[in-house]
């Protein structure tokens, strides 16, 4: 007895050709980077204090951004997917705005709002003495602002694709709303949630514009890997390329690890 296999005809040549062009398009800059890489000095360049400080800060800030995004972004996505309310389109547009806003504009806006003399920042400073710019908190806020929309958009799409009858069935059997979410909804959106986390993290670790505009640039405090690249690009190109390679290696590892989860529900 043979099960009919999914069609295994050769993919159309034209499609393959265009896809190859796309691959080359993304490959060329990488080759440019590899061609200019200072391979023999790579070890010493990457173990310098500036690079190690920036790597630690980038990892801390990007992981913090994922945690904050999970805490706030998943409920936001759930509300957008499941609650019909007036102004939902506006709220969705608002929380997805950082996807299209030039990051440096987002950073400047954060500065105007949350800086020591900002609309919200000034009362905060007067009340608590807390200053967000020029501190790691500023970095975390900037990268979270830019990266959280990736989680919201991914999780909202996943929630909309969940067949709500499963949730209804669980509820009718007496499960609480939290149990339904934890035992039914969450497993169904699991792969998307993971994909969302990885995209959020990848965006956070590569963030430059909002960070430099809001948090500034100081080694060990606010200088993340992308800032270190930018600052050393003028003076010390070898270091800049070495840090870029580190970023590419870390990001590719994670993105390849994600494989096709982004496509599955």
């Amino acid at each position: 007895m043979t099960v009919p296999r999914p069609h295994r005809r050769r993919p159309p040549l034209g499609v393959l050709l265009l896809a190859s062009v796309a691959v080359v398009f993304f490959l060329i800059p990488l080759i440019g980077l590899l061609a200019r890489a200072p391979w023999s000095d790579l070890g010493s360049l990457l173990s310098s204090e500036v690079v190690v400080d920036a790597l630690v800060l980038s990892l801390v800030a990007s992981i913090a951004a994922v945690v904050l995004s999970a805490l706030l972004g998943v409920p936001m996505a759930w509300v957008l997917a499941r609650v019909a309310f007036r102004g939902r389109a506006f709220v969705r547009g608002l929380v997805l705005l950082p996807l299209v806003l030039p990051p440096i504009v987002g950073g400047a806006a954060l500065l105007f709002a949350l800086g020591r003399r900002g609309v919200v920042g000034e009362p905060l400073y007067e009340a608590t003495g807390l200053v967000l710019p020029f501190s790691i908190w500023g970095v975390i806020i900037a990268v979270t602002f830019v990266s959280m929309p990736f989680l919201i958009i991914t999780v909202e799409a996943a929630l909309r694709n969940v067949d709500q009858r499963y949730e209804g069935a669980a509820a009718s059997l007496g499960a609480s709303r939290w149990t339904v979410f934890r035992r039914v909804t969450l497993p169904m959106i699991g792969p998307s949630l993971l994909a969302g986390f990885v995209l959020t993290w990848a965006r956070a670790i590569g963030e430059f514009g909002a960070t430099v505009a809001f948090a500034g640039n100081l080694q060990g405090t606010t200088q993340t890997l992308p800032l270190a690249v930018f600052v050393s690009l003028e003076s010390d190109r070898d270091t800049a390329i070495a840090i870029s390679l580190l970023l590419v290696a870390v990001s590719l590892t994670v993105l390849i690890g994600l494989r096709d989860r982004w496509l599955s529900r």
Partner: protein, 239 residues
């Protein structure tokens, strides 16, 4: 209708009726070169100055890669020397302006900054340009000459982003150029002349340029009284 046709003819004239002079200028010169362009074009009807503004090091890369450039105005003597040693400049390099570094503070000087000696205070929010850019290098040299070990809260990648953070009052003080103090919404705290350094702006004609005669005219113009007046208006100093 007639006007529109005339405009079209006029704008088409640029290709053959007008001669172009291609000027590559450092991005910090954007405001002053806009004025210099207008003045030169008024004095030389039928000439069209085309500005290419970018960081000095990028402009250097473009010239060495063979970009069609008549005039190069750099914010750094070192970069001009690199273009010269690569054999891309005509014989004469002229310094057309200098730009002092200054301490900028938010309007009203809320933190009561008095001078360079405040730059090692931990209780203030202080900014400098990164060491990689000229304003950061000059500021640190000045501070060193004044015997101050700076404790900046940020090393901004360019002078404009530093200026923004001072204008907003997020930084209590920063070291920028005199031209930025003039252009920005900030107050100036003078630096004593014995420890005050300045950036030097060289200009040169590029070899095998598309318009050598026009380039030569522009080089002459850069050292006229009129050009000097425009530079002074923007806060630059005579060389």
């Amino acid at each position: 209708m007639v006007v529109a046709a005339a405009l079209i003819v006029a704008s088409c004239g640029g290709a053959d009726g007008e001669t172009q002079i291609r000027v590559s200028a450092a991005s910090s010169l954007i405001d002053v070169f806009a004025d210099l362009e207008v003045a030169f074009e008024e004095a030389n009807p039928g000439t069209d100055v085309v500005l290419n503004l970018a960081g000095s090091s990028l402009l250097r890369e473009q010239i060495i890669a063979g970009a069609p450039v008549d005039i190069f105005a750099s914010a750094s003597v070192e970069i001009m020397k690199e273009v010269e040693s690569a054999g891309f400049t005509e014989d004469e390099i002229g310094v057309f302006a200098r730009n002092n570094i200054e301490i900028a503070v938010p309007p009203g000087n809320p933190a009561g900054i008095t001078g360079l000696e405040d730059f090692d205070r931990d209780d203030l929010f202080l900014g400098l340009c990164a060491v990689a850019v000229p304003c950061g290098r000059l500021a640190r040299q000045s501070l060193q000459m004044a015997g101050v070990e700076p404790l900046p809260d940020t090393n901004e990648p360019n002078v404009r982003s530093l200026l923004t953070k001072i204008e907003e009052g997020e930084l209590d003080a920063g070291i920028v150029y005199a031209t930025d103090v003039l252009a920005g919404d900030v107050d100036r705290i003078p630096i004593p002349s014995n420890v005050r350094l300045s950036a030097t702006y060289p200009v040169a004609q590029i070899v095998e340029s598309p318009n050598p005669a026009g380039g030569a005219d522009f080089m002459v113009f850069m050292f006229t009284d009129e050009a000097r007046r425009i530079l002074l208006n923007h806060g630059f100093l005579s060389p």
